[in-house]
């Protein structure tokens, strides 16, 4: 076995190391994702949570190399997929793995399907892109896929146009497209946000199902902690382009450490409590151009902020076994040399 094959077998499915993705705004580069590292193992679901504008989607687009050309670029860090460094891949090599080895489900089922083609055509397209199949084989496969994602009357729906389907159905079609080539990694960018709750549950169950069948790794991006609790193995909490907490799903819900995580938990409506108002986190995520460069980025919204929070940048370190957090409330997050500013 050659050295590269050895590393391939041992390497996790997706390894992101110190990823920095920047957008250029008026000639200056600003990091939307700032030094994010995590791994996704085969057969695991990793949830990424955070409010809007935290860099979740940008991160997933960076992994797929779908950043808007000319504006967004990966400035630093490595993305290793199946042991291979993919950010050095050219467009052609990326096209070979996009859709085949890594696939993506997009947020908006209403706009993610091309309105001028039938459902069948769009699923067949994925297959034709990566396999040599006859028209008939591709069609049969796409009908199979549609029934696999729980679409009734698949043989008929295959000839229909996106505008004839409901949001939930379209999202299923998107999932069918994403799993058509049995990818090793599936990035689901808020797959349930646009759907109502009952459909949400079905879609999540479906994803879980497919995942166990194919031993696929899933990155589930969401801002819904309920979705996380239901389907993830590990959770990454992101705030303003940085990871603030990283742990397995159980310890996140039983003992959240970062004030941001705690506040997010507090803002979930609970059936058993009869409260007039929901807790909210005051303020908004700072905009890219006004991001504080030193100190904790959550400091100005944090109820437990201390004076040093704006002066010392907390480090993401293991606080307990398998539970990483970046907050100065914890001794582990203080920089080792204690450098100020």
């Amino acid at each position: 076995m050659s050295k590269s094959e050895q590393s391939k077998a041992k390497a996790p499915l997706l390894e992101v190391k110190g990823l920095e993705t920047s957008f250029s705004i008026e000639g200056k580069d600003y990091n939307a994702v700032d030094g994010v590292s995590f791994t996704v193992d085969r057969g695991k679901v990793v949830g990424i949570v955070g409010e809007s504008g935290c860099g979740k989607s940008v991160m997933s687009l960076s992994v797929m190399q779908l950043l808007p050309k000319g504006i967004g670029k990966i400035r630093n860090g490595e993305v290793l997929f199946d042991g291979e460094e993919i950010q050095s891949f050219n467009e052609k090599q990326m096209n070979q793995i996009r859709g085949k080895d890594m696939a993506m489900i997009f947020q908006e089922p209403m706009t993610s399907l091309n309105p001028v083609f039938t459902i069948g055509y769009q699923i067949e397209e994925v297959l034709h892109n990566h396999f040599k199949l006859s028209k008939k084989e591709a069609r049969n496969k796409s009908v199979q896929l549609l029934s696999a994602v729980g679409i009734p009357r698949a043989a008929k729906i295959v000839d229909e146009y996106p505008h004839q389907l409901s949001g939930g159905m379209r999202q299923r079609v998107m999932i069918a497209m994403a799993i058509a080539c049995q990818p090793k990694l599936l990035i689901a960018d808020e797959p349930t946000t646009a759907l109502d709750v009952t459909v949400q549950a079905q879609i999540l169950e479906l994803l879980k199902d497919i995942q166990t069948k194919n031993d696929m790794g899933i990155v589930l991006i969401t801002h819904d902690l309920g979705v996380v609790a239901e389907s993830c193995d590990e959770v990454i909490v992101m705030y303003a382009g940085k990871i603030v907490e990283k742990t397995d799903v159980e310890s996140l819900f039983t003992k959240p450490k970062h004030p941001y995580t705690k506040l997010m938990m507090g803002s979930i409506p609970r059936l058993e409590e009869d409260t007039e108002k929901l807790e909210t986190i005051k303020g908004i995520v700072p905009s890219l151009t006004k991001m504080p460069q030193v100190g904790c980025r959550f400091a100005n919204r944090c109820p437990k902020a201390m004076p040093e929070c704006t002066e010392i940048t907390p480090q993401l370190e293991e606080n307990e076994q398998g539970h990483e957090v970046a907050c100065l409330l914890y001794e582990t997050s203080h920089p080792k040399e204690g450098v100020l500013g």
Binding site: M64, L66, K69, G70, E91, K92, N95, Q96, I97, R98, G99, K100, A103, M104, F106, Q107, E108, T111, S112, L113, N114, P115, V116, F117, T118, E125, V126, N129, H130, R153, K156, D159, E160, Y161, H163, Q164, M174, M177
Partner: protein, 305 residues
Amino acid sequence: MEVVHNKDTQTQSPTTKPSKSLSPWAMARRKFMRNKLAMISLVYLIILSILSFLAPFITTADVTLVNIGQMSLAPSAEHWFGTDTSGRDVFTRLLYGGRVSLFVGLSCTTIILFIGTLVGSIAGYFGGTVDNLLMRFTDFMLNFPFLVFVIVLNAILFGIVSGLWVLIGVLSILGWGGVARLVRSKILAEKENEYILAAISIGCKPSKVIMKHLLPNVLTTVIVQATILFAGMIVAESGLSYLGFGVPQEVPSWGNMLSASQQPNVLQNMPWVWVPPALILIMTILSINFIGEGIKEALNPKSFR
């Protein structure tokens, strides 16, 4: 009025043949068919084209035959629209003229659409430097003084290439800029849609993304633009021919026929020479515009007919 229930097909009994899903195109066709003015225009245009292109089978008279014995005759049973000052049959020339005018219009439109769409979609999709270079080139082409360019090119190419092709070439070269700008702006808007990102994410090459995913979605605008262009090109051809810079004098075209009215005698005393081409020209342009309007409405999802 027939209404197609696509979503209610579950309730259909299995014996009835399920109605086929209507593509956006099929729906547009339905809407178009209900537009009376556009349909009448379309029928007119089809009949006109058939008459023009089958002209050799309809009239036996020789178009170019100069008959000194039959100069300036008023309409009669033998010469339906009379003859002109050279003794040529006006009706025959009208048919053959339609052939030239429609051919020039059609080929210019085709070439313009091809170049314009190609340049516009590449510029719009890739953006950045490519976009900049292509669009500055487009601006450059749009800045050419039209009439001067036509006259000069006609003079240079005179005798080398047939006059008709010179005209088609010149009109096309000077005409594609507008289409390129239009297509580019549509592509710029369209490529932000998530289904384009989705198409790239399933491993589609840029050429495939443009051809299969973007172009069908900007085609609606292009088609409407094509009708405007078609009419515009016929007018341009006629105008240039009227001034004597268009198709060669011996080739019959509506513009050339109209130029006979430059002679005061013809204008005053022989209306049968210039009224028919003028009328046909006006009706053709009008009907093309009505068709364009009809297509525009049919492709607009917010309009109902």
